[in-house]
Every structure is written in structure tokens, then in C-alpha cells.
């Protein structure tokens, strides 16, 4: 079963890869989706198997082959299926399968569907390696592998230089993170003498290290750099918005539901190590909270529908890091799951819209699409309600738990709650704005475009995801809420992964505080959503006026705080300039000159000596004579 789970996507990749010239999207799509279906069904079977085991021994280990073994270092191609990786596997294969189906409709006009589907399968294979690997090295294989497939898919339409550049940017930014990850692995091995997760977990010292410079803190910080790259956190988030250059289903699968959550998964997987380094966790929480806020603020003013969703993803990932940073690993995983559903849903929905609008992504040219695309609209509403945290929708439960933990956990702080709450308010605003500009209000669609509902193969995945976005929250009902939902167990997911968590007591805290905070956030969110509705549906001329009024703030947000520009000015351009100088100055002027200097001196010496070689035989004879006489003289003298 395990083998079909892992290798079905690989086989799909190989089959489609070898017939990459094929233009038949149906065959290619069926092969790829078939592989995903096999994989998903295997995952379900394994899930049933795993759930049937006793609670604290829910582990399936698979050893494939020996990989790198040198002296006492050993990293094998070995995999572990436990509640945590099982959850991830189900999300990846399930959402992945739906997105493969959706792609069959979305990519039906593309020239190279076989290539597209092979890349997509390749990605899923790597993602499975990442979550299933039983040691850091296998995780790193998947870690780089997903980056690689993401590179290929972002630049899928490579004829456009901007898209090719976006792919490159993604890979290189990820590489910066990967370098940090590598150093993290090195330090961890130095500390524990192993890279196996289970062995690391058993060797972590019981006493947390409060020093900034202790190896364990440094290891966690370096690993977190890896997570910053992969999961788009400050300061390495810049690649994710650009990654929207790829086909929209790719954005849904890789840049919303699965790959970008790898960093969160990694921290949850290494929770014993991170718990032993409170300082590192504090950094994680702060970076997460700031990212959530910053990205949400940028999302407020973007006009490209996919860019809004991209910044929203960055922001939601920030929430997840906030959660794991304060030690609420269960809440982090819960939000990871619900976010995978509703964000995949919204990305696919936006894909459906873009498809209908003939590749138009600018929301200023949309509006009133509700009546043309009823199913897309309806499912999108589910996603919208989920993300802004409308009560009883999935996002409500998971986000509320995170905010509560940010406040209540011993490693939390009231400021973290404030930042999170403000980000939630922003989220409600920009998502409502997106809904309003796209689906509601008056139509601004150009007259030559005739939007239409997407084909069934695209709408079915939307409906399934919409269902999940609405109801998945019941798996992660926070303790506080469960007290008013009689009979419903709280935190099913958290209990499911509990055997893997290091002991860290949070407690439940006061219900009154929890409900006060929840109510406060809810009120603000409703106000904010209402404001957005007022501005973009009822008084559409208001935004323009406000943009004029707050010109500088507006420009700052629209240009994303000029971070990209700053990177170019402060880092990339100086580096290139330095390289040019190194080449044209150091290589050519210093090193080559120095060697020329030496060789020239040798040449000069030769030039002097060559006078002796006059070519005149008589002179040579004279030399012989002089030599002879000198020799005789020397011998006779003694």
C-alpha cells in the first residue's frame, strides 16, 4: 500500500515525462489524475490501518534502501507514517487529486499538457517524500525537490521572460532558505549524532536552553531560515507573489495548499527540539505575526486577483508560524489543514474566473460575475466565509484557536494577539473587497469578453473543496467553543497527533477571557467586512477618492513596501557589481598581471642572455678557447 502511495505519482511523472510531446490533454490528464487517485486511495487505506492501531504505537516504518552512509553518519531512504505525516499525506493526495482534475479543464487549451501533468505528478512525489521521510535528509530531498518542481511549474510558460524570471527567483530565494536548513541539519547532527526524527526526539535534553548562542537555539534558528524560504516568511517571502506567474492550479496546489506549508510541518515535526529552544520559538512567533500583518496590509490594495490571494497566503502562513511559535502545534496543523482547503478552493475559483475571463487577472476589469458563474461564486463565498472566520466555518475554529493561544500560551504575549487580530481585520477587508470587485456590484467586464461558467470537471473539485472548507472545522473545534457545542469533542486533530508532541502544558485558561477576545475579534471582522462591502459595492467611487487622500500610504502598500526594489538596490546589484569587479579587476588586473610580471622577468633574462647566441661560429670557437684556457688554468692552479 505504501509503495502505491509514494510511487504512483512518480510513475505518472515518468509516463507523462517520456511522452512529453503529446498534445492530448485528456490522456495526459487521465494518467496523472489516475496516479493521484491511486495514491489517495492508498492513503485512505493506510489511514484506516493506522487508526486501527493502539493510540501510542501508531507508526508504520518503511525502509526502502540505504542511501548515504559514511562512518557514523547514516541517512537512509526510510519513511515513517504516523498521525502527523498521515494527516499531511491525506491533505496532499486529496487536495492534489482534486487539483489534477481541475487542471484537466484548465489546461485543455495548452500546447504541452503532458509536460504540465508530469511536473505536477513530480511535485506530489517530492511533497510526499518531504512529509514521509523519517530523517532530516529525506525531508531535505523532498524540500529541494518541491522547490525544483515549483521552479519548473512557475516557469511553465517560459516564453514570457517575466515568468521564467519568477521561477528563477523562487528557486534562488528557496535556496537561501535551504542553505540555512542544511546548516541546521549539520548542527543537529553535531548535537545528537543522528538525523532520524525519532532518535532526535528521544535525545533532546529535558531542560530548555535559554541561551541565544547555544547550539540548539542556533540549530532551530537556521532551520527556521529554511522555513522562511519555503513558507514565504519575512524576509524571504518575496518569491511567492511572483510565483503566481505559474498556471493557476499550480498556485492552488503548490503555493497555497501544500508546499508552502512545509516549513510549518517541519517545525511541528521537530517540536521537541524547538520546545527546547524558547528563544528560537519566540523568533518564530514574532516573524510569523509580523508576516501575517505585513502581507495582509499589502493585500488591501492589490488589483490582481491572484496577487491578493498570494499575499493572503503569506499572511495565513504567518498565522501558522505564530501558532507553532507559541507552542500551539496542534493549532498550527489545524490551520494548515483548513487553510489548505479554503485557499485551494479560492485559488481554483480564481482560476475558474480567469479562465472565463480569457486570462484576465485584473479585478478592475471584472465585477458582477455572480450571475455568469453561479457555482464558482457560491463556492467562493464558502471560501470567503471560511477565511474571514465567520462562525462555524472552518477558518473560524482554527484561527480563533491560534489567536487564543497567542494570548494565553506561556510563550505567547498580548502583543502577538493584537498583531494577529489586526491582521484578521485586514483579512476580512481585503477578502470582502476581492469578492466585491470580482463577483458583486456592477460589471466592468470589457464588451468583447463573455464570461461563462466553467465545465463540470472544474466545478466538481470546487464543490468538494467548498464542502471541506465549511465542515473541516469540526475536526478542530477549540476547547472553549466545544463547551457551548454540547456533545462535540474538541480538538480531534490535536488528540490524533498528540503522541508525537513533546510534553508542553498550556492548559485551557479562563473561558470568559477567551470568549471576550473572540467576540471582540468577531465584531471587528464584521465591521471591517461591512466597510469593504460599503466601499466597493455601495459606493464604488470611494476607494479612488481614498487612494488620492492617503496617497503616500496607498503607494507604499501598492508597491509592497518597496521590498523588491530594496533587495535589488541593497543586495543583488551590489553583488553583481562586485562580481564584475572581481572578474575584470582581480582576475585580469591582479592575478594575471602578477603572473605576467614573473614571466616577463624570465623573458627579459632570456633577452639578455640571447646576445651570447650570436650565430657566429667563430665567436663560438672563441668561447671554446676561453673555456679551455680557463679550465687548464683551474686544473694547473690546483
Amino acid at each position: 500500500m505504501f509503495f502505491t502511495l509514494l510511487f504512483a505519482p512518480l510513475i505518472g511523472f515518468l509516463i507523462n515525462g517520456f511522452r512529453f510531446r503529446s498534445k492530448d490533454y485528456k490522456v495526459a490528464g487521465l494518467i496523472a489524475s489516475g496516479a493521484m487517485l491511486v495514491s489517495f486511495l492508498s492513503a485512505l487505506v493506510l489511514f484506516v490501518q493506522l487508526a486501527g492501531m493502539p493510540e501510542d504505537s501508531r507508526v508504520i516504518n518503511v525502509h526502502l534502501f540505504n542511501w548515504i552512509n559514511v562512518a557514523d553518519f547514516s541517512a537512509n531512504m526510510a519513511f515513517t507514517l504516523d498521525p502527523l505525516s498521515m494527516t499531511m499525506t491525506l491533505i496532499i493526495t486529496g487536495v492534489g487529486f482534486l487539483i489534477h482534475l481541475f487542471s484537466m479543464g484548465y489546461m485543455s487549451h495548452d500546447e504541452r499538457p503532458a509536460k504540465y501533468f508530469s511536473y505536477l505528478n513530480f511535485f506530489v512525489f517530492n511533497m510526499l517524500l518531504l512529509v514521509l521521510g523519517s530523517n532530516l535528509l529525506v525531508m531535505f530531498v523532498g524540500w529541494e525537490g518541491v522547490g525544483l518542481s515549483s521552479y519548473l511549474l512557475i516557469g511553465f510558460w517560459f516564453s514570457d521572460p517575466a515568468k521564467a524570471a519568477a521561477g528563477m527567483k523562487a528557486f534562488i530565494t528557496n535556496r537561501i532558505g535551504d542553505a540555512g536548513f542544511l546548516i541546521g541539519i549539520f548542527i543537529l547532527f553535531g548535537l545528537f549524532g543522528t538525523v532520524n526524527f525519532s532518535e532526535i526526539a528521544s535525545r533532546v535534553p529535558a531542560e530548555p536552553s535559554l541561551l541565544w548562542s547555544s547550539p540548539i537555539t542556533l540549530a532551530c534558528l537556521f532551520l527556521f531560515i529554511g522555513a522562511m524560504g519555503k513558507s514565504a516568511q519575512i524576509p524571504l517571502y518575496v518569491w511567492l507573489p511572483d510565483a503566481m506567474a505559474g498556471p493557476t492550479p499550480v498556485s492552488a496546489l503548490i503555493h497555497a495548499a501544500t508546499m508552502v506549508t512545509a516549513g510549518v510541518y517541519m517545525i511541528i515535526r521537530l517540536n521537541p527540539v524547538f520546545l527546547a529552544a524558547p528563544n528560537a520559538m519566540m523568533v518564530v512567533a514574532i516573524v510569523g505575526a509580523l508576516t501575517a500583518l505585513m502581507a495582509a496590509s499589502i493585500g488591501l490594495v492589490q488589483n490582481d486577483i491572484k496577487k491578493v490571494l498570494a499575499y493572503s497566503t503569506v499572511s495565513q502562513l504567518g498565522y501558522m508560524f505564530l501558532a507553532v511559535g507559541v507552542g500551539a502545534f496542534g493549532a498550527g496543523l489545524a490551520h494548515l489543514m483548513t487553510h489548505a482547503f479554503f485557499k485551494a478552493l479560492m485559488f481554483l475559483g480564481s482560476g475558474s474566473v480567469i479562465h472565463a475571463m480569457h486570462e484576465e487577472q485584473d479585478m478592475r476589469k471584472m465585477g458582477g460575475l455572480k450571475k455568469h458563474m453561479p457555482i464558482t461564486h457560491l463556492t467562493f463565498v464558502c471560501g470567503w466565509l471560511a477565511i474571514i472566520g465567520a462562525p462555524l466555518f472552518s477558518g473560524f475554529f482554527s484561527k480563533d484557536e491560534i489567536l487564543w493561544m497567542a494570548y494565553h500560551s506561556p510563550r505567547g504575549h498580548v502583543f502577538l494577539w493584537v498583531i494577529g487580530a489586526v491582521a484578521a481585520v485586514f483579512t476580512a477587508f481585503y477578502m470582502t473587497r476581492l469578492m466585491a470587485m470580482t463577483f458583486w456590484g456592477k460589471s466592468r467586464v470589457p464588451t468583447d469578453v463573455h464570461p461563462h461558467e466553467s465545465p463540470t470537471i472544474m466545478t466538481v473539485p470546487l464543490m468538494v473543496l467548498a464542502f471541506l472548507s465549511v465542515f473541516a472545522g469540526w475536526l478542530v473545534v477549540p476547547h472553549g467553543v466545544s463547551t457551548i457545542l454540547p456533545g462535540h469533542p474538541s480538538n480531534i486533530l490535536e488528540h490524533w497527533i498528540a503522541p508525537l508532541m513533546a510534553p508542553f502544558e498550556v492548559g485551557h485558561g479562563s473561558l470568559a477571557t477567551e470568549f471576550t477576545l473572540m467576540g471582540l475579534t468577531l465584531l471587528l471582522v464584521i465591521l471591517s467586512a461591512g466597510l469593504a462591502y460599503y466601499m466597493y459595492v455601495i459606493k464604488p467611487e470611494l476607494p479612488e477618492a481614498n487612494a488620492q487622500k492617503f496617497q503616500s500610504t496607498y503607494q507604499l502598500l501598492l508597491n509592497k513596501y518597496w521590498v523588491d526594489e530594496a533587495y535589488f538596490k541593497g543586495l543583488i546589484n551590489p553583488l553583481i557589481k562586485l562580481s564584475r569587479n572581481l572578474w575584470s579587476f582581480w582576475d585580469v588586473k591582479v592575478i594575471d598581471r602578477a603572473t605576467y610580471f614573473l614571466s616577463d622577468r624570465v623573458k627579459d633574462a632570456g633577452g639578455g642572455l640571447k646576445m651570447v647566441q650570436s650565430g657566429n661560429l667563430q665567436i663560438y670557437a672563441l668561447y671554446i678557447l676561453i673555456g679551455l684556457v680557463a679550465g687548464l688554468f683551474y686544473i694547473m692552479k690546483g
Partner: protein, 513 residues
């Protein structure tokens, strides 16, 4: 006799090439090198990886007055390098099939002689014999660049030749000194490396002029130039740019490894105290080389020059691993030598393939190549990923082990070297983006560019197979060198290789071969 046959078999084909008509040169050489490769596979049978002993030894007295003998043998350090040589040569013949169109006989004879010299230098266990093969390999290369090179070939040839020659001449002086030391300490003139290992060379802490120190620097100079290490690297880009495709493949694929091999065979075991004393210096140079090579590669306009600078960077990793001197890093270095041989050889071949069609290597002339030649693009991407060390390709295992091993010795150097991983991705992907993606470049209006043909695919497929094989099952490769490296690491101060089947000491015993 196996090793001697491996060394001298190419000469048989030289004879055949000489006698056969000109148009049969290529098939004969191809057949010959393939036979040679298949023959070299017999090493798997004859070589015993479970010991660090020197195996398949042959020893015949050559210049008894100087203690010089024809002494060859194989241990785990040499094993894969010999196979790398025999494996790459047929591919070089395939890569040169159409690009060498004048004096084909001379080219292929040079290639065969070169192959012989390279194998010889990897198995020679007599310092003078090693020196002879080391220098012999220069001569065919000199002709390959000088006759079939680009427009600036004479300059490049001279630079390449003189640079390497200067270094190795000093080494010759060092070898002679060691031979006389053998006389003084062991009572007999000997150029055998095994006897060198038994010498006790004086080393005085804090004093620069001591025999061990001076010898260390002399040998390091020779090998550092060959590798090439920063700051002796400037001959490499020039030589590569001017060399024909086949020449570049051999140069980057095998000849550079003769430098790092020299470090492993001579410098590390012979001068343990000097190595310890100067490790920081050499690690610094290696790290500078890694980062410097990568940075300079990033701003190149010529594809071949870019690959050449990437070699500087990659070989920097190898040297770094050598000086970190633990199991991980040394195994990693050996592995990286092979990996670099495969992937850089393939990169040069790919650049050559496209150059043959468009007669330009300027990156700016290209664009959108992936659309015109999809198969070529797939191969190029695979090799690119191997070059930037994506896991499951050969590049990753070597780089990982080196960085890992170095980090355990020195977090500073390990950490700095990791930066090279980022820069490596930057320059390679930048080139891929400019050449393969975007709109179709101006060059396609001038030439009709075809995708790869069967011959070229046949040459690259074995390389690609190895890329993944080495990446997925590094154990198959590492196990052959494990014992030898272990011996080196555990006995830094008293390094000694035993000859298989003989008593460990006593000079007299070894004379019988």
C-alpha cells in the same frame, strides 16, 4: 598485469589508428576506447574493497641507481578515478565526432595517449613514474588546445602549459629530495611512495623553513595549480574557452582531478604536521575559491567560461573537503571528484553540441532554446540540476558530505561554504533562463538549429544514468574508497599502505615484485 594492460592498451589503438585509413579513425578510436572501458570493468572483479591494501601491484626495477622503479598499484583512492577516465574517453570521442574536422588522426592519437597518461598517473606508486605520467598528460593536451582550439589558442596553450609546468618542476625537485632522504633514513635510494610514507620529515613549530614545511608548499603549489585553486585559477577559463569540446571534457572531467588526487596521495599523508598547521590557510583559499568562482561565473557572457568558473567553484569544495580531513569530508571529496567529472563533462559536451550548430557561445545570442530543441533542453536541465546539487543527483551527495564534514571541523568555513550552494543555483539558473527561456534569440534567424541527434544522445545518456545512479546509490561508489580513506584518517601521523599479501615492513620484502 591488469594495470599495465590498462595503461598501455591505448597505445595498441594508436598503432591501429596510424595504420588504418583516415576515415576509419573515429570508428576505430570509439571501438578501442569502448573495449578499453569494458576491459577496465574487470577491476571490479580483481579489486577487493574490504581492505586498504595496495592491490594488483607490479614492480619492475627501472633506474636502480636512483631507486626508481616501474611500480603501479591500485587502492581505494585511485580505483574510481581510473574508471572515470576509461568511462569518459569514449564519450569524448562521440562528442568530437563532427566537431574535429582536420587532422583527425592526430587528434585521436593525442586523446589515446592522454588516456594512457591519466590512468598511469592514477596508479603510479613510484614518485618519478607519477611525475612522468603527470607531465606526459600535458603534451597531448597541449596539442589538443593548440591545434584544434579557438582563435586565441596559442595564448591559452602557452598559459596552460607553462603554468602547470612551473608547479610540477618544483615538485620534481621535491621528489628528488625525498629520494635522497630515503637513502639517509632507510639506507636505500627509493622513489616508491610507500617508502616516502615511512620517512620522518623534520617539522619545527613556528619556523617556516623546515624540510617538511618547504616540501609541503612545493607539492601544494604543483597540485594547487592543477586543481586549480584560487589564486592560481586564471589559466583554466582561458584554456577551456579555447579548447575543443573534447579537450574541455577531458580537462575538466579528469585532468583537474589529478591535482586533488595529488593532494590525497602525496600532501595529506606525507606532511601531516604541515597540513595541520596550514589547514586554515588552505580552507580559506578553498572557500574564497568557492565563492569567488561562483560570483565571477555569475557575470560571464560566454557559456563555456561560465562553466569553467563553475569548475573553480566546485573544485574548491573538493579541496575544502580534503583539508577538513575527516571521513565525511574526504569521502565527500572523492565522490565530488567523480560527480564533477560526470556533470561538468556533460555540461561541456552540451555547450559543444549547441556551439556546433550556432557557432556562438555568447549567452546573449540565445533565448527560447527550450522551444526549438526540447530534448536538448531536458538534458541540459538535468545536468544543471546535478551541477547545482539538487538531491538525488550526484552533485548533492558530494557537496553534502563535504559541507557536513567541514562543518563538524569548523563551523565558520562550513557555514561560509554553504553560501556557494546559493550562488551556484544563481549562476546556473541565470544562464538557463537566458539561453532556454524567454523569446527566441537572434541566432535562430541565422541558423537552422536542429535538436540532438542519435550520436549525441548516445553520448549523454550514460552520463545522465550515472548522475542518478550516483545520486541514489552513493553507497555503491563510496564503499570502494571507504577502507583507504579510513586508513588515511585514522593514521594521519603514521600513514602507511600495505601491499596486498606481504609483510607490513622491511624494505627487502617488497623488492620481489
Amino acid at each position: 598485469m591488469l594495470l599495465s594492460s590498462l595503461i598501455f592498451l591505448p597505445f595498441l589503438f594508436v598503432l591501429l589508428v596510424l595504420l588504418a585509413p583516415e576515415k576509419l579513425t573515429r570508428p576505430i578510436t570509439l571501438l578501442g576506447t569502448v573495449i578499453h572501458f569494458l576491459f577496465s570493468l574487470r577491476l571490479f572483479q580483481s579489486f577487493d574493497p574490504s581492505t586498504s591494501d595496495l592491490q594488483l601491484v607490479e614492480k619492475v626495477s627501472w633506474l636502480p641507481e636512483l631507486g626508481v622503479s616501474y611500480f603501479v598499484g591500485l587502492d581505494g583512492i585511485s580505483f574510481w578515478l581510473v574508471l572515470l577516465t576509461t568511462f569518459l574517453t569514449p564519450i569524448v570521442v562521440l562528442a568530437s565526432w563532427t566537431s574535429i574536422d582536420k587532422q583527425t588522426k592526430a587528434f585521436h592519437i593525442s586523446l589515446l595517449v592522454l588516456e594512457s597518461a591519466m590512468i598511469g598517473s592514477f596508479v603510479a606508486m613510484d614518485a618519478i613514474l607519477f611525475y612522468v605520467f603527470f607531465e606526459l598528460s600535458l603534451i597531448p593536451m597541449y596539442f589538443m588546445v593548440g591545434i584544434w582550439g579557438g582563435e586565441n589558442k596559442i595564448y591559452a596553450t602557452l598559459k596552460f602549459f607553462i603554468y602547470t609546468m612551473v608547479g610540477s618542476l618544483f615538485m620534481l625537485a621535491g621528489i628528488i629530495y625525498l629520494i635522497f632522504q630515503c637513502d639517509a633514513q632507510l639506507g636505500e635510494l627509493s622513489a616508491s611512495v610507500l617508502d616516502f610514507y615511512r620517512l620522518n620529515l623534520a617539522f619545527v613549530d613556528g619556523q617556516f623553513i623546515s624540510p617538511q614545511n618547504v616540501l609541503f608548499f612545493i607539492f601544494c603549489l604543483a597540485f594547487a595549480i592543477k586543481v586549480p585553486m584560487f589564486p592560481f585559477h586564471t589559466w583554466l577559463p582561458d584554456a577551456h574557452v579555447q579548447a575543443p569540446t573534447g579537450g574541455s571534457m577531458i580537462l575538466a572531467g579528469v585532468m583537474l582531478k589529478m591535482g586533488t588526487y595529488g593532494f590525497l596521495r602525496f600532501v595529506l599523508p606525507l606532511y601531516p604536521q604541515a597540513v595541520t598547521a596550514w589547514t586554515p590557510l588552505f580552507m580559506t583559499l578553498a572557500v574564497i575559491g568557492i565563492i569567488y568562482g561562483a560570483l565571477v561565473a555569475m557575470v560571464q557572457v560566454d557559456m563555456k567560461k561560465l562553466v569553467a568558473y563553475s569548475s573553480v567553484s566546485h573544485m574548491g569544495y573538493v579541496v575544502l573537503g580534503l583539508f577538513a580531513m575527516n571521513m565525511y569530508s574526504l569521502q565527500g571529496s572523492l565522490f565530488q571528484m567523480l560527480a564533477h567529472g560526470i556533470s561538468t563533462g556533460a555540461l561541456f559536451m552540451l555547450v559543444g553540441i549547441i556551439y556546433e550548430r550556432t557557432h556562438t557561445r555568447k549567452i546573449a545570442d540565445y533565448g527560447g532554446l527550450a522551444k526549438v530543441t526540447p530534448i536538448f533542453a531536458i538534458f541540459f536541465l538535468i545536468i544543471t540540476f546535478s551541477s547545482i546539487a539538487v538531491p538525488m543527483t550526484n552533485g548533492f551527495v558530494g557537496e553534502f558530505l563535504i559541507l557536513f564534514g567541514t562543518f563538524q571541523e569548523s563551523a565558520l568555513f562550513g557555514g561560509l561554504a554553504v553560501l556557494g550552494v546559493i550562488l551556484g543555483a544563481a549562476y546556473m539558473l541565470w544562464m538557463v533562463k537566458k539561453v532556454f527561456f524567454g523569446e527566441e534569440g537572434p541566432i535562430f534567424k541565422k541558423y537552422n538549429v536542429n535538436d540532438m541527434n542519435g550520436r549525441e544522445i548516445a553520448g549523454l545518456v550514460p552520463l545522465v544514468i550515472l548522475v542518478f545512479w550516483m545520486g541514489l546509490f552513493p553507497g555503491h561508489f563510496l564503499k570502494y574508497s571507504e577502507k583507504s580513506i579510513e586508513n588515511l584518517v585514522l593514521n594521519k601521523e603514521t600513514y602507511n599502505i600495505r601491499v596486498q599479501g606481504s609483510a607490513p615492513s622491511a624494505l627487502g620484502d617488497r623488492r620481489e615484485f
